[in-house]
Structures are given as structure tokens and as C-alpha cells.
């Protein structure tokens, strides 16, 4: 993962992802991609729509969790899955951009929640990284 990406790491009861991004926005995009892969979310054919978003939180960890919660909410309640994410971060507290959402065809696993457990967005030479634990 020289620039961005994610990998599943061991956690006894739940799921954990180590995520790398070139900046906070890329970290959020990579984390969502990893979470959707873990959940086995697949888009259906059908009309897509673009929705914009803006989040302001107290810190980078708050932004990351809030963003992933928004994606989860889309899966569970609105039955939509992002197929494209164009995100920009402003400092460590603000995320904005838009998502292209497709109808959800299939969701293999349920994720109850995104946790703050031991969550720290830390700088790396290529950007930043974080390890996120999901309650499943």
C-alpha cells in the first residue's frame, strides 16, 4: 500500500481494517472501500444518483467515523451503495464532496457500528493511516 489501500487485520470478535491514504479524504475513501468489501456490498444495475456531503467534526478520527457511519446508514436503511466517491478534506475537521450512489443488490454481512476503539489517524511519509474496528 504505497499510497492508499487497506488490509484486514486480526481481531478476536469483530473486524478490523488498517487503512492508508494520501490525505484524510483519501483515507476516508479507502476505509469506505474496505468496509464495503468486508460487508460484501454489491451494487445493482439501475439508475444512480449523486449526493453531496459536508461533515465537520472535532478531529480527524471523528470525521472518519462519521463518514463511515453515513455509508453504513445508506446500506442498511436506504439500500444504496457508493460506486464513486469524490472527497476533499480541509484540515483535520472537515470533509466534503459527493458520492455516486447505486441501488444495493446484495449485502453479505451486517456491520453494527464503526467504533473509536484505539482509533488514531497518524501521519506517515505517504500521507496518513488508521486502524478501524467495526462491531459485527
Amino acid at each position: 500500500m504505497p499510497g492508499g489501500g487497506f488490509e484486514e487485520i486480526e481481531h478476536t470478535a469483530d473486524w478490523a481494517l488498517r487503512v492508508h491514504g494520501t490525505d484524510l479524504a483519501d483515507l476516508c475513501r479507502q476505509a469506505a472501500t474496505g468496509m464495503l468489501q468486508l460487508a460484501g456490498a454489491e451494487p445493482a444495475d439501475g439508475p444512480t444518483r449523486v449526493e453531496s456531503l459536508v461533515f465537520t467534526e472535532a478531529d480527524a478520527e471523528g470525521v472518519l467515523v462519521r463518514w463511515l457511519e453515513e455509508v453504513l446508514y445508506g446500506l442498511e436503511v436506504r439500500r444504496v451503495v457508493p460506486v464513486a466517491m469524490r472527497l476533499r478534506s480541509h484540515g483535520e475537521v472537515r470533509l466534503e464532496g459527493d458520492m455516486t450512489l447505486a441501488p444495493l443488490a446484495r449485502l453479505e454481512k451486517a456491520i453494527k457500528a464503526v467504533t473509536f476503539h484505539a482509533l488514531k489517524v497518524t501521519p506517515t511519509k505517504n500521507g496518513c493511516e488508521a486502524t478501524i474496528v467495526f462491531d459485527v
Partner: protein, 483 residues
Amino acid sequence: MIQKQDILRRGPWTWEIPASHRSDMRVPVRLFADERLLEDALGDASLEQAVNASTLPGLVSHVTVMPDVHQGYGFPIGGVAATLLPDGIISPGAIGYDINCGVRLLASRVPIAKAQPHLRTLASALYANCPSGVGVKGSVPLTTKELDRVCREGARWAKRSGYAQEGDLEATEEDGAIDGADPESVSARAKERGRPQLGTLGAGNHFIEVDVVDQIFHKDAARAMGLEEGCLVIQIHCGSRGFGHQVCSDYVHDFHGAAARYGIRLPDRELVCAPLSSPEGGRYQAAMGSAANYAFANRQILAHHVRRSFEQALGGKGSDTGLHQVYDIAHNMGKVEVHQVDGRPTRVCVHRKGATRAFGPGFEGLPPRYRPLGQPVLVPGSMGTASWVLLGTAGSMELSFGSTCHGAGRRMSRHQAKRTVRGDRLRQQLEEAGIIVIAGSLPGLAEEAPKAYKDVDAVVEVVSQVGIAAKVARLRPVAVIKG
């Protein structure tokens, strides 16, 4: 990571991490385990998380760690912590996202010999009648106003709506409804998630299981519970679905601000908390109560569907198919209770996350038939292995704030389980062992493989030897329904 040399042996099954281990610990951590289970606990971050939990403001006595402990997020699964009223804290992360996740046990007088030819029909009926799986919707249409009533009334709402029988509510912790629940403290988003999911099992480690009473250890208690050796019983394991998950998520966010306002420093953000007496703490208790009541109603509706299934599969086959409720108990909850602290009765908020209330004989909140014996405790094992019915004891009141274990406890990660177990092969192995399995997801089945869990018999042996529960009956599975 905690090392074995950091732990003092206090008895044959009792271990302690002293409060001197780390400068921010307020109380010691006490673990109940045999040597093997201790090694398991040392194998992940469970005990580190228990040490983190021991730093919460207002804790009394010690943080208790059960033998089925495993790593969670913030607070270990299998942890118990009591905080003093009014200034101690309440922590949503120390209760968990699946608020009032719990177990209900229904018992029959149908002998396995008579039921055996119809077990597959029963399993199919359970799968058809009890909505399960990812994203499944229930069959209970609810307006937001009606959902608010569910939040206030819990299983009482279910009874009023025709989903309960006489005797169900009194055989439910808190009679199936927590006082002080207030849906005004619940977000619109939580209600949106919860409204279509009432009466659903969900996925993950939740299940409905048909068992046979395999062995009875306490004849009087088994008689009081209506458990007969060789007869069928049914367990329902689930919680408050997306409603509870969202309540917890909302308050974990809110409490970040509260913790800062009250000057609470924490080693892990997932332990965020607020004083019980604060407006924030009060709002969370009202919201948590709402989610707990949602879960009681949820299991009550599922019990109704289980009874329908039982009648469909076994009715008219020459046995009394009536299923009576043995008990319903939570294992993710925060509750204000009175316990002896330094020899004085003291009001504390007991956080149980992956731990079961286990009140001893004489507890007024029990139905009269259980009062002289103690509270029934339901301990499901891993899929394909035994489950247990226990009793709360005087020992649990002295040693663990009236709490005991809640299950087998994981020892292998889901990732590792998926790598080493194939769902289709596992189902075949279980079928060969005489256990019918109906599962919505084969990868999900693999994650719940028996080898991913500890030995539930060893867990129960520890709590029995320590004296924080007493054995009543061992159950053997014959059919499992998973989402």
C-alpha cells in the same frame, strides 16, 4: 499487552491485576479462569481493555472479567464494572452497541424421540417464520408513535399486541420493561433504523437453536423451570437490532463532548462516558432503556413465531407442544442496582458487557417459583456445542456484582475462522453429528464455527467452582437457525 507475570493468583480460579499495575487504574481487575482460559485471555487485548476500563471515574471494588472474556472495542466482552451513584459515570461503550442483546429459553414436554422425525420440518418452519439475515425486515408494521410505545413498554407492548402468553413477562428480566425509558432521548435516525426491524433475528452470532435437555444437575431448579431430561427446548439469541446500534453510536459521539466538559481523561475513546447524574448521562440512560425495551419486545415477538413454528411442525403429533418461557435475560446492559460495597448496601450502575445478571436466592424481582432458588442464567455455547442453564448464587452477589458468564467466548478471529473453515463443509459436519443447520450465509456460518470459540463446558466449570453460578442443566443442540 498484559503478561502473565503482571497477574497475581488469588485462588484456584481467581486472578488479579492489582491497581498498582498502571498509574491510572482506580481499582484492580479480577479474572475468573482456569489455566487454559487464562492463556486465552492473555492471547488478545482482553486484559489490556479491562485495565483501561479500570480507569473509569467512580468505579467501586474491582472490574470483573469472566472466563469467556475476549477482546472487544474499548471494554472487553465478558467484563463487569460498577460505578457509584450519583457521581460515577455511565459509558455506552461499556454496555455495547447491541443494547440488551440477550437470550430467551422456551421449554417443552416433547421428547426428542417423538420430535426426531419432524425436526427438519421444525427447523424449516423456524427459518420461514422468524425473519433473519442481513437487511431483513420484520412483519410488525409500526408507526413512529407505536415505536415510541415499544420503547416505553417493551415486552408489555408485545403482550398487548398478542405476542405473549401468560407467564412470559414475569419470566423476563425486569418483567420485560426497563423503567425510565424515554423515546424522546432517541434520535430520528435510530427510530428509522429500528422501525422496520422489530421481530427480526438479524445475522452474525444471533441464532435460534433447538436443543435437548441432555443432563440435569439440580433437580429442584429444573423442576421449577419445567426442564425435563430428553425433552426439547428452544433458545433465542438476539438484541435491539439497528435501533440499539444507532443509540450507542449517537451517544458515543455525544459523550466525547461530555467527557471533555467534565474533565474525564480516558485511555481509549471508545470508553467515553458522562456522570450518571449529568443531563447527558440521564439522556443516555433514557435512550438505553428504550433500546433495552425494544430488545425485550423483539425477543417476545420472535418467541411468538417460535411457538407458531412448533405448533406447525409438531402439533397433532401426540405430544403437548406448549412452550413455556423459562427465562429471558440480557447480557449487554447498564443497570442501577443495590450491592454491598465495603459492607454497606450501595446504589451502583452495573455495566455488563457480555456478562449476565445472576442474582441469588431471595431476589424480590424473581417469579415466586424461582425466588428460593436464584435467578435462571442462560449460557449459550458455540454452534454445535452444549449450552447451559445455571442459577445465580449468593456468591455472585459477593464476588461479581450479581453477574456471571454469558457464553463460550471467541478465541479465534473471524478472519482466521474464514481462512480455516468452509461454511458448506462445516454444515455437512454438523449434519453428520445430528445437528440440522439452516443458515442464510455460508461465510457467516464459517465465522461462527465451534473451533472459533472456547470450550463452554470449561467456562461453566469455572463459574461453578468460583461460586458465581450453579449448574442446573446442560443442553445439546439438534437444530440451528442463523441469519
